[in-house]
């Protein structure tokens, strides 16, 4: 038994279990908490893939920042148990079920058949610290300079958008 396979199994189990429980929860606050747990498990998986910088960002940005907004929204909307929104068997449920199955099959086919042959998942020898902040920084500020600058425009749009959405309530 290899320790990394054990770690992978534990993290994957936590990740999948928390994701399933998240959907099944009636109370949105519990769902949010499970999503945080799920993000933690994802961070652990990134760590196993030698992407330590991404792992810590996963916690910093997703679990730490975005989930604060989620929790705020849930508290702001003051939703109690979601009985009211659970509607009966209807056409929307059937459609989403079919689409879900199709998506699942698509992934299954991709990973079982295509990925095995087409994509070389073996790592190159120098990939051990490919996820280090040094390598990411060097790539981001030389090769991917334009996307990086465009990201700042996206953030600018996000600022304007968030203010526009909340504006009429500020005054």
């Amino acid at each position: 038994m290899n320790i990394e396979i054990v770690a992978f199994a534990i993290l994957a189990t936590i990740g999948i279990a928390s994701a399933i429980l998240l959907v099944l929860q009636k109370n949105p606050v519990y769902s949010a908490l499970l999503l945080i747990l799920h993000f933690m498990a994802l961070a652990g998986l990134y760590l196993l893939l030698n992407a330590q910088f991404i792992a810590v960002l996963q916690i910093l940005v997703y679990a730490g920042a975005i989930m604060v907004l989620f929790v705020f929204v849930i508290m702001l909307l003051n939703l109690q148990n979601e009985q009211a929104l659970v509607d009966n068997f209807n056409i929307r449920k059937i459609v989403s079920f079919i689409l879900g199955v199709v998506l699942f099959l698509q992934f299954a086919v991709f990973f079982l058949v295509k990925a095995k042959n087409d994509i070389d998942i073996k790592k190159s020898p120098d990939s051990i610290d490919a996820g280090s902040i040094q390598n990411i920084g060097e790539a981001l500020f030389t090769t991917y300079l334009i996307p990086f600058e465009i990201a700042s425009f996206l953030l600018l749009v996000a600022i304007i958008g968030s203010i526009f959405l909340a504006k009429r309530k500020i005054e």
Binding site: N2, I3, E4, I5, A7, F8, L47, L48, N50, Q52, F53, L57, L60, V61, G64, A65, I66, V68, L69, F72, V73, M75, L76, L77, N78, Q80, I121, K122, K123, S127, I128, D129, I133, Q134, I136, G137, E138, L140, F141, T142, L145, F148, E149, A151, S152, F153, L155, L156, A158, I159, I160, S162, I163, A166, K167, K169, I170, E171
Partner: protein, 132 residues
Amino acid sequence: MFNNLAENFYMIEQYIPLILAILVALLFSLFLLKASSLFGPQKPNVEKLTTYESGMEPIRTARERFSVKFYIIAMLFIIFDIEVVFLYPWAVNLKILEDKLGFFIIAEMFVFILILLVGYIYLLKKGALKWD
């Protein structure tokens, strides 16, 4: 699929103590959580278990809707937090990249910050950060 995971054990190794430290802290917290019900008395009554509201009978639930300003702060926090995240890889590599690229690497980030500064000034002008 699993054999390439095993190749790079040494990177993960440094995180084992960290994960142990988190687990120890978690167990310690859970111990304290359980200890209070183990050692302390358990004599609840209806009055004792009412919500504290300065001695008055609690009026409705506390989970009322609250000011949208908290919500705006949370949204802005995410946006600026992502900006900060971009700063880290830049900062760590600045000295190395500065040798290669000169002032260009500093200018890159100044442009990035400048664009966001436009958004920041927009925020100030719109009064989104006004708290009264």
